[in-house]
Amino acid sequence: MQRAIEKRGIPTVSITVALDVTEHIKPPRAVFVPFMMGHHFGVPFHKELQRRIILDALNFLATTERSGEIKMLPWNWAQARQEGKLIEEQFRLKS
């Protein structure tokens, strides 16, 4: 999919949680987050984390030098979940 879009001259970057699959498919550019399937942008209501993952991917797009590069992003699932829980607790206190 990503290769088909890139071949049409549109730069692409994907966010993956499955490194083995990505390595086999060889997309032009990808960033890896060590998160659970279906949670590529982190955890519910953690807006800052969701935003930063998007920006990490887009920054990587602008700096990639060779096709097939995969960047490991420095996020941590356990920490993301803890922060998500705190955010939800604060949210509940307010509402």
Binding site: M1, Q2, R3, A4, I5, E6, K7, R8, G9, I10, P11, T12, V13, S14, I15, T16, A18, L19, D20, V21, T22, H24, I25, K26, P27, P28, R29, F32, P34, M36, M37, G38, H39, H40, F41, G42, V43, P44, F45, K47, Q50, R51, I54, L55, A57, L58, L61, A62, T64, R66, S67, G68, M72, P74, W75, N76, W77
Partner: protein, 170 residues
């Protein structure tokens, strides 16, 4: 141990080594393996002037559109357009093959439509393409996927004049 090397360790622990070979043995031809790299397309503009589209395999679709066929034995090779100005309440998910526990509470964890709208509003992204695109990742005939869905979707992305595409294969 630095924070970075610790994360690399974590990443290694999460690799499902050998899984790929097992799946391909059970369902020959269902997995794509490429040995070549496609040439990198060059960004023509900075992000703040670019039109961005988002492509997802999460099975997210506007309420009222034809639901993805999540139980077809060889998969569903169609895609849905999701207007980029949609609200989360306009959308629903039809896909069984990944955990949607987070997405059901906040769709932005897999389809970050509100975050992209915010990044556009503050000018970090130039503009959003009129539509984002979504399909389901359960497609057992890899060759057909490349021949039909991948080309159809790439054509739709190109037709909307997108400068950059962000993808999230669920």
């Amino acid at each position: 141990m630095t924070a970075e090397s610790k994360n690399v360790e974590n990443d290694k622990q999460q690799l499902r080594t050998g899984l790929w070979a097992t799946v391909n043995e059970r369902y020959p031809g269902s997995m794509i393996t490429k040995s070549d790299f496609v040439a990198l397309a060059k960004s023509k503009k900075p992000l703040s002037e670019s039109r961005l589209t988002f492509v997802s395999t999460a099975g997210v679709q506007p309420k009222g559109s034809l639901p993805f066929d999540t139980v077809h034995p060889i998969g569903d090779y169609t895609f849905r357009c999701v207007p980029s100005d949609s609200k989360p309440s306009d959308l629903e998910i039809h896909q069984l093959k990944y955990p949607t526990s987070g997405a059901e509470r906040d769709i932005n964890v897999i389809f970050p439509i509100e975050r992209l709208q915010e990044l556009q509003a503050v000018g970090l992204i130039g503009e959003l393409a009129p539509n984002f695109f979504s399909f389901i990742g359960y497609n057992m005939d890899a060759e057909m996927l490349e021949r039909t869905l991948a080309e159809d979707l790439a054509e739709a992305v190109e037709a909307e004049g997108s400068d950059v595409a962000l993808l999230a294969p669920a």
